[in-house]
């Protein structure tokens, strides 16, 4: 009788361990915001930023950074898609047949993107109109596929979830910084508000900076300027963070 109890409790213990292993890929139970886990969140913001260090996901950084609002919504949409696709792939990581794993990942990402698109259309119609085709293009965002291949396939569920959030935040923060400068310098607005004053047909009728003859920089509205701003960001980041500079 006593023996039986110990055997089931051992079994239970083993099951528990397996569960922990499945969730976080470390044998020991870890605090849910331990140093390692925090690193998963903070690393992509600076040292391992997907845009400025890995130079991934540039295409959408060009396309939707003309104004701040769509950039913020895009960042949120990418966060949702990335966190959940990382999680789902990690849950299925021992089940996914190796030969079709890329297709499986694509289908998971694509269906999450379609879900996000449908929800936006139903609950945030105006924003979804502004983002139009770019929500669909999240599917082709190489950061997502990259994280699935590089991280979620070999790591626990919780860690993959954190990794997804971290990388999406690293992507989003660059998007928002670029959009801030492009909207401010290109149309003199932030989130659609005229922060630099109102530009009327003549200088005399204008207010704020425009009354001194300030002009918006139309170049800022064109895609190449996003690349130039990203370039400047990379420069600033490397000036601050010397270990990012290649030694050759």
């Amino acid at each position: 009788m006593a023996k039986e109890i110990t055997s089931t409790s051992v079994e239970k213990e083993a099951k528990k361990k397996e569960m922990i292993l499945f969730l976080s890929n470390t044998a020991e139970r870890e605090h849910f915001l331990s140093k390692n886990n925090r690193k998963l969140l903070s690393d992509p913001l600076d040292d391992n930023n997907p845009i400025t260090v890995q130079v991934l996901g540039i295409c959408s950084a060009l396309a939707i950074t003309v104004q701040l609002e769509p950039a913020v919504v895009m960042a949120l949409a990418v966060t949702a898609v990335m966190a959940f696709s990382n999680m789902i792939v990690s849950i299925l990581r021992n089940l996914i047949p190796n030969r079709i794993r890329i297709i499986v990942q694509l289908i998971i990402v694509a269906s999450l993107v379609i879900l996000v698109d449908q929800v936006l259309k139903a609950y945030a119609y105006d924003v979804s109109k502004q983002l139009s085709v770019f929500v669909g293009l999240i599917i082709t965002n190489c950061i997502i596929m990259g994280r699935l291949e590089a991280f979620a396939l070999g790591n626990g569920v919780y860690k993959s979830f954190l990794d997804g959030i971290g990388n999406a935040a690293g992507y989003g923060i660059i998007l928002i910084i670029v959009a801030f400068f492009r909207e401010l310098l290109g149309s003199g607005k932030l989130f659609g508000f005229e922060v630099l004053g109102h530009k009327a047909a003549t200088m005399a009728e204008s207010t704020g900076l425009y009354s001194f003859g300030y002009e918006n920089n139309g170049l800022m509205l064109l895609s190449p300027m996003a690349l130039i701003i990203v370039g400047i960001l990379i420069w600033v980041q490397r000036a601050r963070n010397r270990k990012l500079i290649e030694q050759n």
């Binding site: 003309v66 104004q67 021992n94 089940l95 996914i96 047949p97 190796n98 030969r99 079709i100 297709i103 499986v104 289908i107 998971i108 269906s111 379609i114 879900l115 449908q118 929800v119 259309k121 139903a122 609950y123 119609y125 105006d126 139009s132 085709v133 290109g186 149309s187 047909a201 139309g218 509205l221």
Partner: protein, 247 residues
């Protein structure tokens, strides 16, 4: 143990089964989401249309409040055949102009919305044309002489943000207000979007100022206005109360 697991997921049978199950699961989740969200999405599109129609006659409402005011001010919606006669079968509000324009010309049906605001009658004509990248559309409201523009709204599918996409902005739309569309002998001219700052106070020059950097979108707007309006001339001619000589 490990090797066995790898072998299992590598077999053809397992791969096929996995693919089939995944497609079925993903397919049903998406189908469920699409059908359950569809009523909300259609409602958004419908309310936005009412909002746009009201905006042409100077009534700015948010999307949620548009239906009530629409029912209050839009007194008639009629569908017109290409010869100007009224088509009794078609429901004008649900006519999709994009689809109509793909049909053979004699079969096309065009909607016309008639608003009555404090005794003033307005004719609202839906527009559709081509911008730089994709379709542009909108509504234009004419006063009861069908010569003077009361207001216009424009929208687009994929014009460049900050350039062509600015046609949706109020400051661009306002340039059309009070412009005339017929010349003195009753020929339809329409309104052209032109470069070089035409005098904004001259309301019978058939010109409004363009947006710099959006020449092709602007040309699309001009073409769309004159092209669409000409289809309504047969109907306007039959209306006794319209007092403008239309050639």
């Amino acid at each position: 143990m490990e090797e066995k697991a790898v072998n299992k997921t590598n077999s053809n049978g397992y791969t096929f089964m996995f693919a089939i199950i995944m497609v079925v699961v993903v397919g049903s989740v998406l189908a469920f989401a699409a059908t359950s969200l569809q009523p909300l999405q259609n409602e958004n599109v419908r309310q936005e249309k009412m909002q746009n129609i009201l905006a042409t006659v100077g009534i700015e409402v948010d999307r949620a409040g548009s239906e009530e005011l629409y029912n209050q001010y839009i007194t008639e919606t009629i569908a017109l055949n290409s010869d100007g006669s009224v088509n009794e079968q078609a429901d004008a509000f649900t006519v999709d102009l994009a689809k109509e324009l793909k049909r053979p010309a004699p079969n096309q049906v065009f909607p016309l919305y008639i608003a009555d605001i404090e005794g003033e009658k307005y004719y609202i004509v839906p527009l559709r044309g081509k911008g730089l990248w994709d379709a542009i559309w909108g509504y234009i409201a004419l006063k009861d002489d069908v010569n003077t523009i009361k207001g216009a709204v424009f929208d687009h599918k994929a014009e460049t943000p900050g350039l062509g996409a600015e046609i949706t902005q109020v400051w661009f739309r306002e340039r059309f207000t009070d412009e005339k569309i017929f010349d003195e002998s009753g020929n339809l001219i329409g309104v052209s979007v032109v470069k070089g700052s035409p005098d904004p106070t001259d309301k019978s020059d058939f010109k409004v100022d363009a947006i710099s950097g959006a020449t092709i979108t602007g040309d699309g707007v001009s073409d769309m206005i004159s092209e669409r309006l000409q289809h309504y001339l047969p109907y306007f001619k039959t209306q006794q109360e319209i007092k403008v000589a239309i050639q």
